[in-house]
């Protein structure tokens, strides 16, 4: 008795290849879009130094997407916006970037949450969304 012949493997493999190619194209599209989105968002540069963030107050519109670009110039500062669940340690000379979009009007406190010296308690700022 002869076994029934298996269907040719060409068709499924080709289908898989098509799915794979489609997936790659989609991923490529997403990857291409990321920098484009980042380019459209306003970048706000913030300097972290003992014992202040500069600027200390950042006014934004509700829903406005911006990139916070925070550079520490002198110490391992903490950069934390507790109400937006954003935080990072930023060593001297390092930069941290975070994209934010304030969901509602109000004040979002920025605080250095790494102890950095005598006037550490003064090292805070705020985003005011209106």
């Amino acid at each position: 008795m002869t076994r029934p012949q298996r269907p040719p493997v060409l068709a499924p493999t080709r289908r898989r290849l098509l799915w794979w190619a489609g997936g790659v194209s989609l991923e490529a599209l997403v990857l291409t879009m990321r920098p484009l989105r980042a380019d459209t968002a306003r970048v706000i540069e913030i300097v972290a130094r003992r014992f202040e963030f500069e600027p200390e107050v950042i006014p934004l519109r509700v829903g406005e997407e911006v990139i916070l670009q925070v550079t520490s110039i002198d110490y391992l500062h903490g950069f934390s916006i507790p109400s937006l669940a954003i935080r990072a340690d930023i060593a001297a000379g390092q930069t941290f970037r975070a994209t934010i979009r304030p969901p509602r009007a109000g004040t979002y406190v920025i605080v250095c949450d790494n102890f950095c010296g005598d006037e550490h308690d003064d090292m805070s700022g705020k985003i005011v969304a209106s």
């Binding site: 391992l76 903490g78 507790p82 004040t107 605080v111 949450d113 790494n114 102890f115 010296g117 550490h120």
Partner: protein
């Protein structure tokens, strides 16, 4: 323990006076109280210099030591829960302040005095100078009259972590205890997220609380926030004592942390 009225009035102005017989595991379980009390003093900030906030800063530590010494019934021990000194970048000044603090504290009548660092003492140099003058090990445990005391360090890492090594030590220290053991935790900063906007938290404090949670008789005493404050995480009570150097405006009353100006009409008001 028998205290006269005068002693109780004197205690009213101190950082924290802890009667162990009133804590978890002593009243609820009916276990023998092992009746004793200890005094918690915190946030002394020796070397702080701002006459608008405290023009009598140099009197604060001698004053509180005299108050403790005046108690007819002396505490079993006194514990300083951190920020013994105001921080400084100058290592010589830090060393001098810590040494001066210790000299003053040596005038306490009670012989059992325990010291813990706060971030002002230990964060900027990861406790190097503090370790020279006090204990080199910042976390430890000891037993006193049936109570297991655990001292935790959430200050010598300036990023405000207990750290995995200390948490592993805590796990093994607790593992040796009976589940109903009375436990008192001494720590400088709150272990729970009291106010992250004001940096009143410990980033991995929740992990320590999780380790403590299986033990029904745990109480935590801490400082750092300059206020008396009481909070529960589950069945675990957390109590904060006032600073001896300056008060802060109450949480929520001002946008940023603000030291309260000295009130000539009511000197030392709000201080422990």
């Amino acid at each position: 323990m028998d205290f006269d009225r005068r002693d109780f009035l004197r205690m009213g102005g101190m950082g924290g006076v802890v009667f162990v017989s009133g804590l978890a595991g002593c009243t609820a379980t009916g276990a023998p109280a092992g009746d004793f009390y200890f005094i918690q003093l915190t946030d002394i900030h020796w070397g702080f210099n701002n006459p608008n906030v405290n023009p009598q800063g140099e009197e604060t530590l001698p004053r509180v030591i005299a108050a403790v010494n005046a108690l007819e019934v002396q505490p079993d021990f006194v514990v300083f829960t951190g920020d013994l000194t105001q921080t400084t970048d100058d290592l010589k000044v830090r060393r001098a302040r810590l040494a001066s603090f210790r000299e003053h504290a040596s005038k306490l009548k009670v012989r059992d005095v325990r010291y813990m660092p706060g971030e002002h003492d230990a964060a900027l140099d990861r406790g190097e100078v503090y370790a020279e003058l006090f204990e080199p090990r910042f976390h430890a445990s000891f037993d006193h009259k049936g109570v297991h005391f655990i001292v935790l360090d959430n200050v010598s890492d300036p990023r405000v972590f207990l750290g995995d090594a200390q948490l592993a030590w805590l796990r093994s220290d607790l593992a040796a205890l009976d589940k109903n053991q009375r436990v008192i935790v001494l720590v400088h900063r709150p272990l729970f997220n009291l106010a992250p906007d004001w940096d009143w938290a410990t980033k991995d404090g929740a992990k320590a609380i999780e380790l403590l949670m299986p033990y029904p008789n745990v109480t935590v005493f801490y400082g750092h926030i300059y206020h008396e404050h009481h909070h529960r995480t589950g069945h675990i009570e957390h109590h904060a004592a006032m600073s001896t150097m300056f008060p802060l405006a109450p949480l929520g009353s001002v946008e940023k942390k603000t030291q309260v100006r000295w009130d000539v009409a009511a000197p030392f008001r709000g201080l422990g």
